[in-house]
């Protein structure tokens, strides 16, 4: 009996850990040189879209401390000011918590549109924060490219994440 309990516990832990661990692994893999174009933008976009998705459909999968850790990891990998993405991702999660109830029953298109709005606000906030922290005007083209890539990534990611959400990451199946 105890053996069964152990394996079930392990299964439950693995299902809980899947979202955060998979985000971290993909983030690190995106540092391999020559994998995809616009790698830095894709990495930020991937994390933004993943946090959006999990905070919408399974908030328990990504508690705030984990989001903060992922944000710091993103800052360290992508040479942005330390802690900047931790703050932005937590703000994304906080904003999602307020509109979650209304959004969770809507269709894909509406969810994507709201995500585009989130990306616009977060990207503007990132640009402003970087300009203030570095005390310099930065060229806007790269950050615009990152915003567009992020919005385009979401549908691709959603297909994979919806499958994970219903299958491997669902604790109720453990």
């Amino acid at each position: 009996m105890e053996g069964v309990e152990f394996w079930r516990g392990l299964d439950r832990v693995a299902r809980h850990a899947l979202p955060a661990v998979s985000i971290a692994i993909v983030m690190i893999l995106l540092a391999i040189p020559g994998l995809v174009p616009l790698q830095a933008g894709v990495r930020v976009g991937f994390v933004m879209a993943s946090v959006y998705f999990w905070s919408l459909y399974r908030p328990a999968a990504l508690p705030a401390p984990l989001v903060a850790v992922l944000g710091v990891l993103l800052d360290l990998l992508g040479a942005s000011p330390l802690g900047l993405w931790a703050v932005l991702l937590l703000l994304e999660q906080a904003a999602m918590a307020t509109i979650r109830r209304a959004l969770v029953r809507r269709g894909f298109l509406m969810v994507w549109l709201v995500f585009a709005g989130f990306v616009a606000v977060l990207t503007a906030a990132e640009y402003a924060a970087r300009a203030v922290l570095d005390l310099a005007m930065l060229p806007p083209a790269p950050i615009l490219a990152q915003g567009i890539v992020t919005i385009l990534i979401y549908p691709l990611l959603a297909v994979a994440l919806i499958r994970a959400h219903r299958g491997a990451a669902a604790p109720e199946q453990a």
Binding site: L77, G78, A79
Partner: protein
């Protein structure tokens, strides 16, 4: 595990987000106040992830260079024709180079020329591309017993790529010449007119602070200059190109978008210095 009543637990779970937000804001301020904090954490993370990067980059490199490169097969014929033409041209240049080398030797012998010491160098593999939106840098592996190699000059087969800005136990970060924070003193053309090459986050760094009476001309060669003491004189960087009027940029010789193996040269480190310092 600590057992708490349901209202207390709910209150706690509602508090985590604001608390984490405050902690993160504190981290931003701490990183702003102490630049070393971010650098130290970054070096630690780079070192810790180096084996992982190395393992993950190996199959990608295999596909790119080995038999798996499907794209290469389609370009085989065109590449061959181009290489034959280039080889003809290079043979001609080789003759010129040999003649010039002989002449150079003769002139040096007349001048009692003291040769500059050969720098210490080693090859390093690029294992991660850690550029961000506004940062261009790559991570390279370094030998386990390497000393501090900050300020070593990184070159690929054709020209200067950048400079080592952080070095850990088994990895080092190279700041590329295209990074926004990169400033390289350069000498332009035959007479070595001074200027500064400033990275602008695009493929071509910009030339600034050149003498107004003597602007760089299209196609002139750009070499590093010893001003400032980090770079030695005369490493090839690129050629001058004009994008717009009065805005000269440098087209780097190095293939900045596909860096795989770099050579790191230590000009300020003398080979015997470690031994001399170790023996009391």
């Amino acid at each position: 595990m600590l057992r708490l009543s349901i209202p207390v637990r709910q209150a706690l779970s509602r508090l985590t987000l604001p608390v984490m937000l405050i902690v993160s804001l504190g981290l931003v301020l701490a990183g702003r106040a102490d630049r070393h904090l971010g650098d130290t954490l970054r070096t630690g993370l780079d070192d810790a992830l180096t084996p992982l990067y190395r393992a993950a980059a190996a199959p990608v490199a295999e596909v790119e260079q080995g038999r798996g490169a499907i794209g290469d097969w389609f370009r085989l014929h065109a590449d061959n024709a181009r290489l034959v033409a280039e080889n003809d041209q290079l043979k001609r240049w080789r003759a010129v180079a040999l003649a010039l080398a002989a002449q150079n030797d003769a002139l040096k012998s007349q001048l009692h020329f003291v040769p500059t010491p050969t720098p210490n160098f080693f090859a390093a593999r690029v294992i991660a591309d850690l550029g961000g939106l506004y940062a261009r840098s790559v991570l390279v592996t370094i030998p386990r017993d390497a000393h501090d190699i900050v300020n070593a000059i990184a070159m690929d087969g054709s020209g200067v790529v950048g400079r080592v800005v952080q070095s850990g136990a088994r990895s080092a970060r190279v700041l590329l010449i295209t990074d926004l924070n990169s400033r390289v003193p350069v000498a332009i053309g035959q007479h070595g007119a001074r200027a500064i090459m400033e990275g602008q986050n695009s493929a071509t760094p910009r030339l600034i602070y050149w003498a107004p009476g003597n602007p760089p001309r299209e196609g002139q060669i750009v070499l590093t200059s010893a001003v400032g003491g980090v770079f030695p004189y005369g490493l090839p960087v690129g050629t001058v190109h004009y994008d717009g009027k009065n805005d000269p940029v440098v087209r780097p010789f190095a293939g900045m978008t596909r860096l795989r193996v770099l050579r790191l040269f230590e000009y300020d480190h003398q080979p015997g210095a470690d031994v001399a310092a170790a023996t009391p």
